[in-house]
């Protein structure tokens, strides 16, 4: 059901979405999120993001997140692609997509996948600025809160 890839090369979001529905008529909706590299960080020009990961663990962690989405929503297909290496402003970083018979499952699963990926998959971003400085990106409280809302949802009810 799931396609999970970690790669340096770019991806074609349109082709990935088409693949989720190809050859079947039970899919009624596909939710999708594509993350891209912003060209500035707080007004400071960015030259590139460098994405590092823990190869032995990454695909397993992504597989666990996808499996959890499959337990919570009625999914007919799911794709997660995360790029690694040096990515310049405008480049694609990540794609998550979820196909279902109905939009609610597809959209909620898509939001869940990206929220959990951001806090539960072993990737790290380093910012290289146009002025030559560089810094590791710090984890954000807002990302943790976004992931936690799904934990609360599991305990009872859906996120608000």
């Amino acid at each position: 059901m799931a396609r999970i890839r970690v790669q340096t090369e770019d991806f074609d979001a349109g082709a990935e979405l088409a693949a989720l529905a190809a050859g079947r008529t039970d899919v009624g909706g596909i939710g999708c999120f594509v993350g891209t590299v912003r060209g500035d960080v707080g007004g400071r020009a960015l030259a590139a993001l460098v994405l590092e990961h823990y190869p032995a663990m990454t695909e397993r962690a992504l597989g666990q997140i996808v499996a959890e989405a499959g337990r919570r929503w009625a999914l007919l297909g799911c794709t997660v692609i995360h790029r690694v290496g040096r990515l310049e402003p405008g480049a694609n970083i990540v794609l998550v997509a979820a196909a279902s018979a109905h939009r609610a499952d597809a959209l909620e699963a898509t939001a869940f996948l990206i929220d959990w990926l951001k806090t539960k998959a072993p990737f790290w971003k380093r910012e290289e600025f146009a002025d030559g400085a560089a810094a590791w990106v710090a984890a954000r409280e807002t990302d943790a809160a976004a992931a936690d809302r799904w934990t609360e949802a599991a305990a009872g009810g859906r996120p608000g």
Binding site: E52, Y54, A56, M57, K120, P122, F123, W124, W136, A139
Partner: protein, 89 residues
Amino acid sequence: MSESAPLHVLYFAWLRERTGMAEERVRPPPGVASVAALIDWLAARGPGHAAAFAHRATVRCAVNQEFADPATAVHPGDEVAFFPPVTGG
């Protein structure tokens, strides 16, 4: 009796930069049986390691590719990775 298998320790992001290494194989004494005890032992290996583990609240860990916490047990032959909070997506 043969010597026990070493621990395979991996460092990512700024932990790799501070320790100056991506990985190492170590044989801590038998009393070092948890992630917390391993951090204490590793931090005493040199100034780079001490710097890497100076702010433990910002260090995350995985044992055999599963997220772990300070109380998680470590055994000879385990793969133990240390890294900052993740920032993918």
